[in-house]
Symmetry: C2
DNA sequence: GTAGTGTTTTGAACACGTTCAAAAGCCGGG
DNA sequence: CCCGGCTTTTGAACGTGTTCAAAACACTAC
């Protein structure tokens, strides 16, 4: 009666994602997940060492969806502000169905040492994918920032993304309207900063920022 | 056998703070808190509707300690960078004993809708006190920023403070050395930005930032 | 086939946060 | 003194995430 390899694990993940969407994170019990997956509670813990760990699957999926949504929309836009706005709004759209659940998720992820933290080694691949999206946002844009700064810019834009996400998680307005407003206000600022980064007065500032990002990276 | 008014409540808070420091947040059970306070579990829940709520006391205390530590050290310094560095390092010093526990605390606080969130109404007083400290950091400094910006600057500096705290919570280096390094790198950038805010090229940028902060505030 | 070995699965048991109905204490008015 | 209504206190009970020893299974070697 053995099914495909890894099928137990998969069954558990899908059951969990279904239930998370249906009843939120807190409303979903491990017993319910195990039930729907057709296994015992203990078995679920054989594959995932905690309830928190079950959501890494969600995170990976979300990053992939964001990318899939954003990339096609980017073609034909060369203005950095436009491209940024597109990427950030794509996130909001992709993440919308999970808002309640995502709140809990990001709270968990904010916990230091938690493998779900965006800064943790375990999130390495997902983080790389996210940063990479912003690399593409930049490479398709008609911009010419200070070259030193340019190298760290994808990481910086991803940090901006994290900030927006943090706001979104707390945003209870309909269809995340306030977050979209925040995006509209933030994007021109960032775009202008990037453009101004070549100005002689601002060069030392750019250097300091570059140093800072390198420190943050370890 | 009644003791002073409010004494039950106080006993529970102190018991909780003691235990949090001794064994961390997760290591402290409500049963243990009740035991040490000399009351029943149910009674603890009569005063505090959840375990999370018990730490608001900690938060208030920390903000007060930070203020008490920072203010005296500020006298005699007129350079904005110096003053900022002093304020931020004072935080690190004040918070150091609670690092492990604080990690959990801020994770809880990051949860949307949680009364402990720094953006929630319940944290209003503590937030106001924190913002106020940065108002004093500014008012004692020899600076002359764009006047529009000046009005929102305390809030902005507090946001910087939150960013540093977020990093600190994840920082496992001895004596928070990496966070102190981050402070050393961040402070000159912020100070320079404030100084440059009068430059004509940067005026529109300043306006955008001011708009942004006003949006964030409501 | 059977014995042995590692992997997977089970479900009862545990510890915890939280709830709740009932008890105990308190206090003003008759 | 005691009645009635309040605040406070109790501890057993519930539902949850998690653990664990034991069972079931899969496979290899003989």
């Amino acid at each position: 009666m053995t099914t495909a390899p890894g099928s137990t694990r998969d069954a558990i993940v899908s059951a969990a994602l279904e239930l998370f969407r249906e009843r939120g994170f807190d409303g979903t019990t491990m017993r319910a997940v195990a039930d729907r997956a057709g296994v015992s509670v203990g078995n679920a813990y054989y594959y995932f060492s905690s309830k928190d760990e079950l959501v890494q699957g969600f995170y990976d999926q979300l990053v992939a969806e964001h990318r899939a949504l954003a990339l096609p929309e980017l073609t034909g836009h060369a203005d950095l502000a436009d491209r940024l706005r597109i990427a950030l709004n794509a996130w909001i759209t992709a993440a919308e169905p999970y808002r309640e659940f995502a709140g809990r998720f990001f709270a968990v992820a904010a916990q230091p040492g938690n493998p779900l933290s965006p800064f943790s080694p375990d999130s390495g691949p997902a983080r790389a994918a996210a940063v990479d999206l912003y690399r593409e946002v930049l490479s398709g844009a008609r911009v010419d920032p200070d070259p030193e700064l340019a190298r760290e810019l994808p990481e910086l834009l991803w940090l901006q993304h994290l900030g927006i996400v943090l706001f979104w998680v707390h945003d209870t307005s309909a269809d995340a309207a306030r977050t979209r407003l925040l995006v509209d206000r933030t994007v021109p600022i960032v775009a202008r900063l990037v453009r101004l980064s070549r100005l002689p007065v601002l060069r030392p500032l750019g250097r300091q920022v570059v140093d800072l990002v390198r420190l943050l990276k370890g």
